[in-house]
Amino acid sequence: MNNDAEQMTTEGTPKETPGVAQEVPKIELVVEFSGGLEMLFSDQRRHSLSMPATDQDGKPVTIASLIDHLCRHTMRDQRTELFVLDGHLRPGILVLINDADWELEGEEAYEVQSGDNILFVSTLHGG
């Protein structure tokens, strides 16, 4: 799992060379965590990642599948329930897609585009 995650963050563009039929195209995004969520992700606010543009079923990546991907590959903390509850993002965590409230963008169904900036902010922590 660790190696996987390493690849996800360090892997650049080389594999995207056209002509390799098997290769799934990748999308590049910046995912940020704040409001205390950093602690679940190696105490690091900003993560640049590259992930397959489609999921196992060949559907475009959505915020829902991004969240799943983050839990599997990026999170370094066992306490996934602090991020995901009952299969959905934990209530009290805000999502900003390119600075816009995800409620304006279709929430979990939003199809992630290459170059997007996705920010997860927890409102659950004290000061």
Binding site: G36, P91, L94, D99, A100, E103, L104, E105, G126
Partner: protein, 404 residues
């Protein structure tokens, strides 16, 4: 999805969807309306008077940072003529408060406000680290909450200031209302809805200018204004994240965002039904509303983290425990409350030598509080010793060796 345009200016792209009415706003219209609404709260409740010196209880967290930023903006824009000071409490928790105090120091420079930091060690002779060393982690939030409430007042006194504002937001208030509702404690519920607290006897009044502001909007305001705030979880309250009333509120918000303000309004309406309590609501809802005051002594939970927000009920239990001289033995706090309270009031009637209680008090309404001062420290208290001194008494008994 096609980008939506701002409902107010109709030209900029909407970035915010307001929880209270689903209005879609662009960044600058959102910042404007957020500030306007806080201004409305301040003016309709007549929170400030010109020339008043006001201490902002500043933790470096999102709520107090947004409060400081908004108050500075509004004070300049609307010429409140108030003098703003940052007041921070150092609980003495290594690795937690150190960083947030650094944030407050930066805020002081950013907002050009004087900063006063008061430490538990200088006020009480105990840091929270030492308290936890003595009593363990369980129940330490009670100590911290009691100490902090007084510390803000004492800090304000040192500065010669009579008004402390705190960053409590609508989510916090709704949470406290629900907790008190679930406990059947209408008296405390009533007090927790007041925007201004602090009895006539107390020298320092408290108010919550962000009482009607959604936590979500506070976070978005901080984000869009790029405010410098610090987030951390208190190292002594690992369960804080699971505060059940908090989760309930957040789950309700997910399904029906207006629920938070609805709970606040219901709380205010219920408060008016509680005998002997002063009504409170946004000044424009009840025209005749004067600035209401309530005894703060034991209302909203003192801790900035979710756990401390559990509110004053834990305190009743703690007091009982203290009297039995077993402060460290914390049971399941929440479930113990009714028992604790009954014991407490029985004991009080003996201890305080009050005139015979009229009949049996079956309602969980706290008997009318006699306000006096603590005979040890002079802080306002309805009993011989204030809560802090009572806690300290227990602590000092347990202090290993150092005494004498």
């Amino acid at each position: 999805m096609a980008p939506a345009f701002c409902a107010i200016c109709k030209t900029q792209r909407a970035l915010i969807r307001r929880p209270k009415n689903h209005q879609k706003l662009c960044k600058s219209c959102f910042i404007q309306i957020f500030e306007d609404e806080v201004h409305h709260t301040i003016t309709s409740s007549q929170l400030f008077s010109p020339g008043e010196r006001i201490a902002i209880g500043a933790s470096g967290g999102k709520d107090s940072t947004v409060l400081a930023s908004v108050l500075k903006t509004l004070n300049e824009k609307h010429k409140y003529g108030v003098d703003l000071v940052l007041l921070s409490i150092d609980e003495g928790i290594k690795g937690y408060r150190d960083d947030s105090l650094e944030t407050v120091k930066r805020n002081a420079l950013q907002y050009e406000m004087p900063l006063k930091i008061v430490g538990y060690d200088e006020l009480y002779g105990w840091t929270m680290d030492q308290v936890v060393e003595t009593i363990g982690k369980k129940g330490n939030c009670t100590y911290c909450g009691v100490f902090r409430r007084q510390a803000l007042d004492r800090g304000a006194k040192m500065l010669g200031i009579k008004h402390v504002v705190t960053g409590h937001n609508a989510d916090d208030v709704a949470e406290t209302i629900l907790m008190n509702l679930l406990r059947g404690d209408l008296a405390r519920l009533s007090r927790s809805t007041s925007i201004v607290t602090g009895s006539n006897a107390s020298e320092v009044k408290r108010s919550k200018p962000l009482k009607y502001a959604y936590e979500k909007e506070i976070v978005l305001y901080a984000h869009h204004k790029k405010l410098d705030y610090f987030t951390t979880e208190c190292i002594y309250s690992p369960e804080a994240f699971r505060g059940s009333a908090r989760s309930l509120i957040k789950n309700l918000e997910r399904v029906r965002p207006s629920a938070i303000l609805d709970v606040v309004r219901s709380g205010e309406d219920m408060a008016r039904l509680v005998p002997g309590q002063t009504p409170d609501a946004c000044g424009c809802r009840i025209k005749e509303a004067t600035v209401p005051k309530a005894v703060e002594e034991d209302s909203v939970g003192g801790c900035g983290s979710a756990n401390g927000r559990a509110g004053g009920g834990e305190m009743a239990v703690m007091e009982k425990e203290l009297r039995q001289n077993e402060a460290a033995e914390a049971e399941g706090l929440e479930t113990e409350i009714p028992v604790g309270k009954m014991h407490q009031s029985k004991r009080e009637s003996k201890q305080l030598d009050t005139p015979a209680k009229p009949g049996n008090v079956s309602l969980p309404i706290i008997p009318k509080q006699k306000l006096g001062t603590c005979e040890r420290c002079g802080y306002m208290s309805s009993q011989k010793l204030c809560q802090a001194c009572m806690l300290l008494e227990g602590l000092n008994k347990n202090r290993p060796e150092i005494s004498i």
